[in-house]
Subunit: 140 residues, 2 copies
């Protein structure tokens, strides 16, 4: 058994294309000896967001704190609540935003696929693993 | 993308040996099309607990609400805090208790191993998957 408080784990800013005010705490990854999946605490500052992207790894999100919004494969944006949980399938385009005035926190789960480490998506032959997508315009 | 609030998911009481006041909400399991791992919201009433047990599946816990305690492989009990996260290795004996006066909630992750469904541990040739253990006496 290994115990830690999420706040003890280093908060690392993402410098990847399309990310703004986005920080990851890698709670349990391959480096910790996890064989199958990884838990990350993602934090987004007010006005911040991920890129609109996809990757081979499916996601399970659980929203812990703040005012999140989710942009789906059709470009539709939906405001979410604390206690919401979201499933994103493999290679499904998605974006997460903080639309509130406080830090937003979410548990972000991914599988550790061959070539992956629980921190970054597994690379594919034709890309780096995480693919930035053009967001569809949505009148919805 | 599929969205739900954890409270919309059915709360099912465990009737298994050694469990008391313990309820599971199966947020994302094999039935939902999840290929690799499962997310469950576990809830324990005041004075309730899991059995002291082990199974092939490793755990990643994230404690959301209440006053949890953890009993480790040596029988040592440790009080935990909201925001704590715990890794339990494959087949490592463990028990979770609610030592507070309100409901305790935790995110409980397991891999979906061959023969498993994300709800119950995968059965092994010599047991049902989840093995109740004798708790070591600990003077610690």
């Amino acid at each position: 058994m290994i115990r830690k408080h999420y706040s003890e784990v280093e908060r690392m800013e993402s410098k990847k294309e399309g990310f703004k005010g986005f920080f990851a705490r890698y709670l349990w990854c391959k480096d910790d000896g996890c064989p199958n999946f990884a838990m990350r605490m993602m934090e987004i500052e007010p006005g911040g967001h991920t890129s609109y992207h996809s990757h081979l790894e499916e996601h399970q999100f659980y929203f812990v704190e703040g005012e999140p919004a989710y942009v789906d494969a059709n470009g539709k944006e939906t405001k979410l609540d604390v206690g919401d949980t979201v499933y994103v399938a493999s290679d499904e385009p998605h974006q997460i935003k903080n639309v509130g005035n406080e830090v937003m926190r979410m548990i972000c789960m991914i599988p550790i696929l061959p070539g992956g480490d629980g921190k970054n998506p597994a690379p594919r032959p034709d890309d780096g693993g995480c693919v930035t997508k053009a967001k569809p315009s949505c009148s919805c």
